[in-house]
Symmetry: C2
Subunit: 319 residues, 2 copies
């Protein structure tokens, strides 16, 4: 059964998820490693390697296609280099592919996690059979992955897909990236929370204050989603505003790239119906007639496992 | 010399340009037809067909690769259908490929003119050897063509590339397309002229009034370019403002698509250095570090012949 299984790894700043996955994209078994606990990159890579061996031994599997790894931030997917990783001291331009191939004796493939989410949704999720697909993740940052003619499009210097840094207001607030009025500057986690906090401080009535025991520093997008689901007007208005910002940026993407499907994933996507209704309404109102009729905007099907499944899809493509 | 020559046609609302072009993209001979003079589509198609035969006879050429045609607006490039064409009565969903193949007995290929400009610049102009290229034309409208991995990207319903309808201000003025604050709403010909007219009416000193003999209805982008070249402050400030709007939209495109080259053509591109300086400065300041270092923003090399040469490039690809 050499071709039957693959190891998928979602390498995050807080947790690293590993799984043994079959050829249909089903997770057979999974493990979790606390990324932040490792004192240095060598120990962390050894931990991953050990965990892979343990999974294979536990399942009695002698051979797998290989290991796929998705990580946030800048990755050289050709050489398998991961440039930086929060929480791991000394992580600077690490030849992850080479190091892990040496210690596991398995082929290793590395890519950016949002690219892999796009690939995962294309091969096993909301985009099966689709040729042109855009994937958007909403969280601390706003990331994007682009599938063109059924293939991952990485761009000239492997940095394509930064949907979060399309400006929706040319004179808008400064963004960390150096731009102004970038989408992320409105819908990134911290800006959603900041907007809610400002509105509450201005005296808007809301159940959010109760949900966080009057400690406004505890507001998160998750709390705001809960409040919106319970019908809280302030929370609903915030998700509607976020949906509009997203819809404006995605209208531009629809007009420019004329995709068949836009898949939205990540934590903030859990805000659910209110967010998606506002987003779809904005795109319907603003994008051009022909491309807007052709596009479906859907929530990611793979949820929390998108990174792992995408990493597996990458290995399947490469082996 | 069957493979040595191709007929390229740039079908416009006012004029239609035809040329015999060699395999290196050099124009051997050219003709001009006044599109608007023809009473109906049949007569116009016969005129094109006759002109092609005349060119071949005049040069003593027995065979060519085929005929490539670029036209504005919506084209079904697969079936060779041109949906609408200003100035020709009764032009509605015309099977241009089929009709012209019947009357010329040559293979005919049809595509949108901006797509063909992108292809022309890729094969014979500013983008030779480039894999990922964006082409932008500035005129009445703002059009775009996208080359991904060395191939024209047309999108799911063949309508990709509408860079002019990326919003740069989510609450900006309404655009004809249904959106708000679209790039075209700022840098399309009529909006440039309207801005200049407003500023002059407000009493700004400028040589533009003299250039148009005090008849402000005669202001065109061409007049504003002339004034800017002569150092007129008002005209310079207008082109700087246009460069900034373009730079904001193109920063988003750079972050999203990470292209190697952005080619800018069309009439407004003639505003020249002032426009390009402001545009490049804005992109440098706003786009992300890695993709912005990788991209060159250049003026189209093919100028007025981009449509013809692009049509020839299309035929070369298809035959």
């Amino acid at each position: 059964m050499k071709k039957g299984y693959t190891i998928g790894i979602d390498l995050g700043g807080t947790n690293t998820k590993l799984a043994l996955v079959d050829d249909k994209g089903r997770i057979v078994t999974r493990r979790l490693i606390s990324t932040g606990e490792y004192p240095a990159k060598e120990a962390f890579i050894e931990a991953i390697s050990g965990c892979v061996k343990e999974i294979l031994a536990a399942r009695g599997i002698k051979a797998v296609r290989g290991i796929g790894i998705g990580t946030p931030g800048l990755v050289d997917s050709r050489k398998g280099i991961v440039y930086s990783l929060t929480n791991i001291p000394g992580w600077d331009r690490v030849f992850l592919k080479k190091l892990l191939e040496r210690s596991t004796r398995l082929p290793v493939f590395v890519d950016n996690d949002v690219n892999l989410m796009a690939l995962g949704e294309l091969k096993f999720g909301a985009g099966i059979g689709v040729k042109n697909l855009i994937c958007l993740t909403l969280g601390t940052g706003v990331g994007g992955g682009i599938i063109i003619d059924g293939r991952l499009y990485r761009g000239t210097t492997l940095s394509a897909g930064e949907i979060g840094h399309i400006s929706i207001n040319e004179n808008g607030p400064r963004c960390n990236c150096g731009g102004r009025g970038c989408l992320e500057r409105y819908v990134g986690n911290r800006y959603i929370v900041a907007l809610a906090t400002r509105k509450i401080r201005r005296g808007k009535k809301t159940i959010v204050t109760k949900l966080v025991n009057n400690d406004l520093s505890r507001i998160t997008p998750f709390v705001l989603s809960t409040a919106a689901r319970r019908g809280d007007e302030l929370a609903i208005s915030i998700w509607q505003e976020m949906g509009k910002h997203l819809g404006v940026a995605l209208s531009g993407v629809v007009n420019l790239l004329n995709p068949e499907v836009i898949v939205i994933g990540g934590g903030v996507a859990n805000a659910g119906k209110v967010l998606f209704d506002a987003l779809r309404k904005t795109v319907r109102e603003r994008a051009m007639e022909i491309p807007v009729k052709a596009v479906k905007i859907v929530r990611g099907k793979l949820g929390q496992d998108a990174g792992i499944i995408g990493a597996v899809a990458l290995v399947k493509l490469k082996t």
